[in-house]
């Protein structure tokens, strides 16, 4: 079962403005089309760029 964008947002507790629903659908489809297959991007085996730095954000020398 696929949920509509309105249902998806309302399930998160977000009241969707009625006249946004159609444009949200169009824009979201546009973003997914832009994503494509991410061909050429090293998604699977490259280490993620988010960092986990022990000791906090700033390490003093």
């Amino acid at each position: 079962m696929s949920l509509s964008i309105q249902e998806l947002l309302e399930n998160k507790g977000i009241p969707v403005k009625k006249d946004h629903v159609e444009s949200l659908q169009v824009k979201w489809e546009g973003i997914q089309a832009l994503r494509g297959s991410l061909e050429g991007v090293n998604i699977d085996d490259a280490d993620i760029s988010l960092k986990n730095i022990p000791g906090g954000d700033h390490i003093d020398e």
Partner: protein, 471 residues
């Protein structure tokens, strides 16, 4: 109109230093003009006249006593209204934060205050910085001084318009997808997005944490270099701040481009560009070549995914910040940003993380390119700023989506965090056109120097915004 307001910091500073110009006279001239032009431009959110004049008197006294602090001492400047001033309202040009008062100065505010800057007020912006038109539903549109029917760009549109019109001698903007460079290009001024981590963001209301930057918006490249020297530096209060030594940026601005290698990426940065903008940017590159620079064509394949990565990252981070207000008081947002916050709830965690992988690969490709070339040059924007209220722009006779297109060339600078400068390179009709210079991480001095070389070719030909000729 007092001619002082048209001068750059670089021109005014020696006059203040040698005591032939009083900071009080300059501050009053700027405030008089800012208040007078407010009806037409609407760049200010708040004026600080009384405090500004008092601060200017104090600056004057210090200078008379021989305690000159440097280039920005006594300069009347207003800042974007998402930078916190202690005990002052900071609205983000929003309804929700209309009464928000910070109990501390943003780091950049503190640094400018210590450099002797006189704060004349706060400047309008696109609500919460989440847009590029500055057509604000709560406080009215900011108008472009070159053509009052056009947008000034955004989100730092108040800063762009105020500097262009002389209502602030210089300013700061914030940039998440182009919000310094877009209004700088549209308003015919200089705008620098520094390397991520170079300038502390502490005390700046966020739009998207990993993409946000603060940087100078000024009349000239030297003014930007001087301001960057003041606001740069490590700050423990900002988790993204990087502990790298501050350069002598002004000292690097010589205009010497002999043997400079300019990278040109045709596939992305010159694809789908307004024909006149394309010609102006290529003509500027040729002028650098005439001075001894060389051009190399470069490939950056992952740029094809950068628009997606920019959208997913900025939408997700912005919606995370405003999630609670979107649930509890959505009607208090302007309609355009409420739409974007709703949209930002849709990407999955997988989408977000894959977008970060795209960023990682993109950074690597830029790094590889900067092993071969010194800078990359492109148009700042592929289009000319449209009429206020329009969501579309003209691209060689085609109607295209405004937001998607206006951030196409600026977004990669935010994704990679690399320094990017917009400088004027000419006009299309009555509207200025900007050129973007990107460089390796922490190469602001080099990027500014190339910008200065272009500035020296006089691309604005001494033209002034319409508001002056029609005053």
């Amino acid at each position: 109109m007092n001619d002082l307001i048209l001068k750059s910091v670089d021109e005014l500073a020696p006059l203040i230093k040698n005591k032939t110009l009083s900071p009080v006279e300059l501050t009053k001239a700027v405030l008089d003009h800012a208040e007078k032009s407010q009806d037409k431009i609407n760049s200010y959110m708040a004026f600080y006249r009384e405090e500004a004049v008092e601060a200017a008197k104090k600056a004057e006294q210090e200078i008379v006593q021989g305690n000159y602090r440097g280039m920005y001492h006594g300069m009347p400047i207003a800042l974007k209204d998402n930078l916190y001033f202690k005990d002052k309202v900071t609205t983000m040009s929003s309804k929700i934060h209309k009464d928000f008062v910070s109990d501390y100065d943003a780091t950049v505010v503190r640094k400018l205050r210590e450099a002797g800057v006189i704060f004349t007020g706060k400047l309008s912006m696109h609500e919460y910085a989440w847009g590029i038109t500055n057509n604000n539903p709560h406080y009215g549109p900011v108008r472009n001084p070159w053509n009052l029917d056009k947008i000034p760009g955004g989100s730092s549109g108040g800063s762009g318009a105020a500097v262009a019109v002389g209502a602030s001698i210089a300013s700061l903007g914030t940039d998440t997808a182009g919000s310094i460079r877009i209004p700088s290009s549209a308003c015919g001024i200089v705008g620098l997005k520094p390397t991520h981590g170079r300038v502390s963001k502490y005390g700046c209301y966020p739009l998207a944490w990993s993409l946000d930057h603060i940087g100078p918006m000024t009349k000239t490249v030297k003014d930007a270099a001087g301001m960057l020297e003041i606001i740069s530096g490590y700050d423990r209060n900002d988790p993204t701040s990087v502990n790298v030594a501050i350069d002598n940026y002004l000292g690097q601005v010589t205009g010497d481009v002999k043997d400079l290698v300019i990278g040109v990426n045709e596939d992305y940065f010159f694809n789908e560009v307004d024909e006149d903008i394309n010609k102006l940017v290529r003509a500027s590159i040729q002028k650098l070549v005439d001075q001894g620079a060389k051009v190399e064509t470069v490939k950056i394949p992952t740029l094809q995914h950068s628009e997606w990565a920019e959208l997913v990252t900025s939408l997700s981070e912005a919606s995370a910040i405003h999630h609670s207000d979107l649930m509890n008081r959505p009607d208090d947002f302007g309609d355009d940003i409420r739409f974007l916050f709703e949209l930002g709830e849709l990407p999955s965690a997988v989408d977000y993380l894959q977008a970060q992988q795209v960023r990682r690969q993109l950074k690597q490709e830029f790094n590889d390119v900067f092993e071969k070339v010194d800078v990359l040059i492109s148009p700042t924007l592929p289009i000319i700023a449209p009429t206020i209220g329009e969501n579309f722009a003209d691209l060689n006779g085609k109607k295209v989506d405004l937001i998607d297109n206006i951030i196409r060339f600026t977004g990669p600078g935010n994704l990679t965090g690399l320094p990017a400068l917009s400088v004027p390179c000419g006009f299309k009709g009555d509207m200025p056109v900007g050129l973007q210079i990107m460089g390796p991480a922490f190469s602001e001095g080099r990027v500014l120097n190339v910008g200065y070389a272009i500035e020296q070719t006089q691309p604005l030909k001494g033209r002034k915004p319409l508001i002056f000729t029609n005053a």
